[in-house]
Amino acid sequence: MAAHHSDPVLHPEVQQASFTGYTVGFVMSLLLLLAALLLTEQHALPPLKLLGAISALAMVALFAQCFLFFGLNIALHNIWKSVSLVLTVPLFILTIGLTVWMFHQLADLTMLPGMQVMPGMPGMTMQPTLLQ
């Protein structure tokens, strides 16, 4: 690794800043989120498909940010950042995916039919009764 004792501004971490990259990253993030908003507001798809579609848009935005904002790549200077992220991704999947799956299975298996609040009925329990 080359040492840059003289001028910290010449360090590769500083020099990797890119006007084009940041601009594209910003515009992409914004457009993808606005597309997700539009789909949701218009209820363009049935609920489950809509959730899938906006999740996909969010994933694309996150990927774009990884490359364009964080500057992740497989160049020698950045490889360990990319590797540590790749090794952390399974932890995200386990933490969120497994937890959600487990609790929803548990709820379906253990809740008595009579006790279940009907899902998909917003407004049913509208008033915060304890606080009125």
Partner: protein, 209 residues
């Protein structure tokens, strides 16, 4: 690396004193990257809790998701946080050119936009509390407030850090320590945009599906 060079006919010790200087900036940015990943795991835990508690069983007679989230209002927050991140990113492009004026201008814009974001969030919280949707109403609302406020607190500490760096740039100039901090702050700030993508889509948009 010249760790294996034989000097004066003797093998070097396993580590030797007075070795070449460390690459301080690379070491600091990689260390901060690892911290950022651990911070991301903290958010993963909060998202998992939110996803579990966002269930009809956990509303406790309080308002449901669709009554709490306002996607259009949150879109203004999206605009504010993404623009703030963009402004700070451009500030580091100015840093790359060695332009201190550009750096300071970018940071100033980022601070203003970040403050706008926090203002919008506080107004949203105030209106929720006003309608009786307080964190102690239900498990769902507890998870909601903790998740959103965690991101908001990150933003607030980012702003504080930015103000500190503004002073440091003016007082110490672009020294190695200051530049390393500026790079870490860029990573921290850009990370808030990534977290907000998840908050916006999986809390605000999903809430109205």
């Amino acid at each position: 690396m010249d760790g294996n060079i034989i000097r004066d006919g003797k093998m070097p010790p396993l580590w030797h004193y007075g070795h070449e200087e460390h690459d301080v900036i690379s070491a600091k940015t990689f260390g901060f990257w690892l911290y950022m990943l651990s911070d991301a795991l903290l958010f993963a835990g909060l998202f998992a809790a939110y996803a579990v508690l966002d269930h009809a069983m956990n509303m406790a007679g309080g308002p449901v998701e669709a009554q709490v989230v306002h996607p259009i209002a949150a879109t203004w927050q999206t605009l504010a946080v993404l623009s703030s991140v963009f402004a700070y990113s451009l500030a580091t492009v100015a840093l790359k050119r060695g332009s201190r004026a550009g750096l300071i201008a970018g940071m100033a814009v980022a601070i203003v936009l970040g403050a706008v974001f926090i203002g919008l969030e506080l107004a949203d919280f105030a209106s929720l509390v006003h309608t009786g949707a307080t964190p102690d109403t239900s498990g769902f609302l507890s998870a909601f407030f903790v998740l959103i406020a965690s991101h908001g607190l990150h933003m607030a500490f980012g702003l504080l850090w930015m103000l500190v760096m503004l002073v440091q740039v003016l007082r110490f100039g672009l020294s190695t320590a200051v530049v390393a901090q500026l790079l870490n702050l860029r990573l921290f700030w850009q990370f808030q945009a990534s977290v907000w993508v998840c908050v916006y889509v999986f809390v605000y948009l999903k809430g109205t599906i």
